[in-house]
């Protein structure tokens, strides 16, 4: 038959066999080369580490030769590095190992200024240094690249003196030139540093006043001016001036700085979907080096996969929801091998109910302050915290966190007091009729409560509000919606009540959400709340650079917001964290868990090479 296996077929089979064998051999040969490269890399790594240790010892003045420069770390011991130095003194202190963390979504690019995601800024914070940094425990500004600063009397000029001996990851020194370069670079219109540049509007110029001295001059006194100047991440002139603006804008991984960690190959880094992001320790770091060798972020979008990965020990740190936190805490074996924290932090997001005072241009029932105050007193916010957020939160009194000096500590939250609330409503002309509350206009009191439908916690809070106000005769129509639909409604100022949240910052600026000029369509004062006294005080605070003076004004602002209740402030969330137990020197500080630069793993517990 014609299908018989012939000589021709035999030859074809032999040829295919030869090709397959050759491919296999090539791969084996390639792997041998790989092995040699790996060995060479190991050797270089060891030598770099040894060198770094020697440099560090020299810098700390143990063996100071006649030619060695006075280095940065010698004064580091007194400022900014206390907790790392304390960790170094523990008997089981050791360097090595890696930390595995997670991102829900990978950042699109790591290049500073042009990246937009929060995740990218998290990675950047390990690689780039700022002039000063906030101590995570005291929230005060402490020296980083700059060792001191002075603010002029007119509050327009801030002078910084830089430390000597600060170097970038390539060993080149960080000087005033780099600071000036960074600010010019950010303000260069051809660089797409859109968000960073928007904040620099009030900055007039930055000048070099010496090799290690820089001066920031502002156009007008502005309360954020110190944060802008001290908090700017410094870029290397030598590294970044190699690229044209177009190359920089289009780049994905040009992340290079003087921080404790570095990207191993910034010029060739590009996002590889599915691959973790890895930083390695900067062996040339000028400060006290961190103990952990590598920081790795895995991308795990699915929450149940994240919990499983943490249980498995595939990731070392995990921020659970209140529900997951309780679940994990119930697992004794897991609790025994992890650290866990529920910390009240000053920059946590807070939840509120926004009472719209002008719906579609018409004043609403909430235009009356007494009605807003009564609404707050009809809600038992402590029960919301204990039952819905499972105790992982606290009732707040304004947009200022009680943990920051911005808040007036003497202000107590409005109590849960139904009788007083009812009295206030009666004073405002409301009365009960057949169990429902009738307004001065003779119509029953009812409103629509909008919230983001994708948030399951808000759903429970909304049900609780409906129930509580229902008891007082108010009919609440709960109306969940997609966020973009809700935003459209609020922009058009066509809604009644909105249940939502704002993210928290260390110093909150109430201008955009409560001042009269933010009622116009671009502002976020979507409740149309207006109080001329508040406007004046906020403007005054915003143009005060000195912290103590400004905080005194913020206290007055706080009292007005508390009194006027444009929002009913519900609660501020706690920060919940789990960290693998092999890490030592992990502790709670004011802003959450202390930074991982301060952690270490004893040699016997180390998991990764």
């Amino acid at each position: 038959m014609e299908n018989r296996f012939g000589v021709k077929d035999l030859v074809v089979f032999i040829l295919i066999g030869i090709v397959i064998t050759m491919v296999g051999l090539c791969m084996a040969q390639y792997d041998r080369q790989w092995e040699l490269i790996r060995q060479a890399n190991d050797k270089i790594d060891r030598q770099t580490a040894d060198l770094a240790r020697i440099q560090n010892l020299l810098a700390r003045g143990v063996i100071a030769g006649p030619t060695s420069q006075p280095a940065a770390v010698s004064d580091a011991q007194s400022a900014g590095f206390e907790r790392i130095l304390k960790a170094e003194s523990y008997p089981d202190y050791s360097t090595g190992d890696a930390v595995y963390d997670t991102f829900m979504a990978a950042p699109a690019k790591l290049t500073p200024l042009v990246s937009q995601e929060y995740t990218a800024s998290q990675v950047q914070s390990f690689v780039l240094d700022t002039l000063m940094k906030r101590d995570p425990d005291t929230l005060k500004w402490v020296p980083s690249v700059a060792k001191s600063f002075t603010v002029s009397d007119d509050q327009l000029t801030i002078d910084f003196e830089l430390r000597k001996g600060v170097v970038f990851a390539d060993g080149s020194p960080l000087t005033a030139d780099d600071v000036v370069f960074t600010m010019d670079f950010e303000r260069n219109d051809s660089i797409e540093a859109i968000r960073a540049r928007a904040y620099l509007d009030k900055l007039a110029r930055v000048e070099k006043t010496g090799d290690y001295h820089v001066r920031f001059v502002f156009k007008e006194p502005y309360f954020m001016s110190f944060t802008i100047a001290a908090g700017t991440e410094i870029l290397s002139r030598k590294f970044y001036s190699q690229f044209s603006p177009k190359e920089f804008n289009e780049s994905t991984g040009l992340l290079f700085g003087s921080g404790p960690y570095r990207l191993s190959d910034p010029k060739n880094w590009h996002p590889m979907p599915g691959a973790p992001i890895e930083l390695v320790r900067n062996e040339r770091y000028w400060g006290v080096p961190p103990a952990i060798d590598r920081v790795v972020w895995k991308v795990i979008p699915n929450p149940s996969a994240r919990v499983t990965a943490f249980r498995n020990g595939e990731i070392d740190s995990y921020d659970p929801t209140p529900e997951q936190y309780n679940g994990l805490c119930a697992d004794n074996a897991l609790v025994a091998r992890t650290h866990h924290f529920a910390i009240e932090v000053p920059n946590a997001p807070y939840r509120y109910i926004a009472w719209n005072e002008k719906n579609n241009g018409e004043p609403t029932r909430f235009a009356d302050k007494r009605v807003r105050q009564a609404m707050t007193m009809l809600l038992d916010r402590q029960t919301i915290v204990s039952d819905i957020v499972r105790g992982y939160g606290s009732v707040n009194t304004s947009c200022f966190s009680a943990l920051t000096p911005q808040a007036d500590p003497s202000i107590e939250p409005w109590p849960f007091d139904v009788a007083r609330a009812q009295q206030m409503l009666t004073d405002a002309g409301y009365h009960l009729e057949n169990g429902s509350l009738i307004g001065p206009d003779g119509k029953p009191f009812e409103f629509e409560l909008n919230y983001n439908s994708s948030n399951s916690v808000l759903k429970q809070v909304a049900a609780y509000i409906k129930d509580s106000l229902g008891r007082a005769g108010i009919n609440v129509n709960v109306k969940p919606g997609e966020l973009s639909v809700l935003i459209d409604k609020m922009k058009a100022r066509k809604f009644e009540v909105y249940l939502g949240g704002w993210s928290g910052v260390l110093e909150s600026d109430p201008h955009q959400i409560f001042c009269t000029d933010a009622i116009a369509k671009t502002g976020d004062n979507f409740v149309s709340y207006s109080n001329p006294e508040l406007d004046k005080l906020v403007d005054q605070a915003r143009s005060t650079v000195k912290d103590e003076l400004r905080n005194q004004i913020w206290h007055k602002v706080h009292r007005i917001i508390h009194e006027d209740q444009p929002y009913t402030f519900l609660y501020i969330e706690k920060s919940l964290n789990f960290v693998d137990g092999r890490f030592k020197n992990v502790m709670a500080v004011k802003t959450g868990v202390n930074p991982l630069q301060e952690w270490f793993v004893p040699l016997t517990d180390q998991k990764y090479k």
Binding site: E250, M272, P273, K298, I300, S304, T308, W502, Q512
Partner: protein, 357 residues
């Protein structure tokens, strides 16, 4: 035949135009509008800052222009023949130019780069799972049809029905919970396509200091097992049913009876005559598989943290990222239409009776 193919290809252009226009205008008129989330990212911040950011987006992406103008600009941008676009966004001379898919508003990167990064992942997942789906589906289908009503047929029928009914999202979470968790069996990784160590491994499995290192190849295979199971079980159940059904139909046909009557061996009847005639149904299904191969599986990608084309598309829609949404629509639309043409050609090849003249 050639006439028909050319006609179909020419028809693709107006169809694609219609698809992209529909997607664009639905997106533009939906709440939030184009780039809605980019503009909302700064809610609560200083109004001067928010205004600056808005101004930037307007200048860079022209989102303040009338919607029809925006769509027109996009059409011009993807066309090889049209008005030249200068660096500052203004239009130049008419002529030939390099077509471009534009830049993503959210990621501030060329859309082409995003697709180039993500398409290989989606292709890898699908190229592994599609052969499994077909081999498993067709083989089980033939076996079930061969011994209709037998033990194998009954059992496979029940299991296929169960497999077809179980939603992927549930199966994926269960697989992770049971097969990738230390609480039960820790056999597989929870997510991703490879470990960070894999980058430092050689390609093949090998020994380092008497410890087996799995190597890059095994690491990737190990990571692919759960996602591939999730991707394939449902479709393979569907294909089994389909193959079994059309095999049974052909087994009862007159020509099969004739073949049996003239004494052909059973295997020849089954594989040479019946199976060949049953492939028409499989071809119809295959035409639907190609576009979904490029589209990616949103659910599987999300559960296992594999950022392929599915995630890119969904995320872009949430963000109202004009350029990415339109690019994904354009590619998806093109592949769907192309695979329909391909299907028609394959019909003609598989069945000589089919003619388009």
């Amino acid at each position: 035949m050639l006439n028909y193919v050319i006609r179909r290809i020419l028809l693709m252009f107006p169809t694609l135009l219609g698809i992209t226009a529909l997607v664009f205008f639905v997106m533009a008129y939906s709440p939030g509008g184009i780039g809605g989330q980019a503009l909302e990212a700064d809610a609560g911040s200083d109004s001067a800052v928010a205004a600056k950011i808005r101004e930037y987006y307007e200048k860079r992406y022209g989102i303040h222009k009338p919607k029809i103008v925006q769509f027109g600009r996009w059409l011009n941008q993807i066309s090889p023949l049209g008005l030249e676009i200068k660096d500052d966004g203004s239009l130049g001379h008419f002529g030939f130019k390099a077509p471009s898919l534009g830049d993503s508003m959210e990621q501030n990167r060329p859309v082409m780069h995003l697709i180039r990064e993500r398409l290989p992942l989606t292709l890898l997942l699908n190229l592994v799972s599609i052969p499994i789906v077909y081999i498993l589906g067709v083989a089980t289908g033939i076996q079930a049809a061969k011994k209709r009503g037998g033990m194998f047929d009954t059992v496979s029928n029940a299991t296929q029905l169960a497999m077809w009914s179980v939603p992927t999202i549930w199966a994926g979470v269960m697989l992770i919970g049971l097969l990738a968790s230390r609480q039960y069996l820790k056999l597989f990784p929870t997510s991703g396509l490879y470990e960070v160590e894999a980058a430092h491994m050689a390609f093949l499995p090998h020994m380092v200091n008497h410890v087996l290192v799995r190597g890059y190849l095994l690491d990737v295979i190990w990571h692919l097992i759960l996602p591939v199971i999730c991707l394939s079980y449902g479709s393979s159940a569907f294909l089994t049913k389909l193959t079994r059904g059309s095999m049974l139909e052909n087994l009862g046909a007159d020509y099969t009876r004739t073949a049996r009557a003239k004494g052909l061996p059973e295997n020849v009847i089954l594989y040479r005559h019946v199976l060949r005639n049953s492939t028409l149904a499989l071809i119809t299904v295959a035409a639907g598989i190609l576009p979904s191969m490029l589209g990616g599986s949103i659910v599987v990608e999300w559960i296992f943290g594999i950022p392929g084309m599915g995630q890119l598309g969904v995320h872009a829609v949430q963000f109202r990222d004009r350029e990415v949404v339109l690019a994904v629509t354009l590619i998806g639309g093109f592949v769907s239409l192309a695979s329909q043409v391909l299907r028609d050609i394959l019909y003609a090849l598989a069945d000589p009776r089919v003619s388009y003249e």
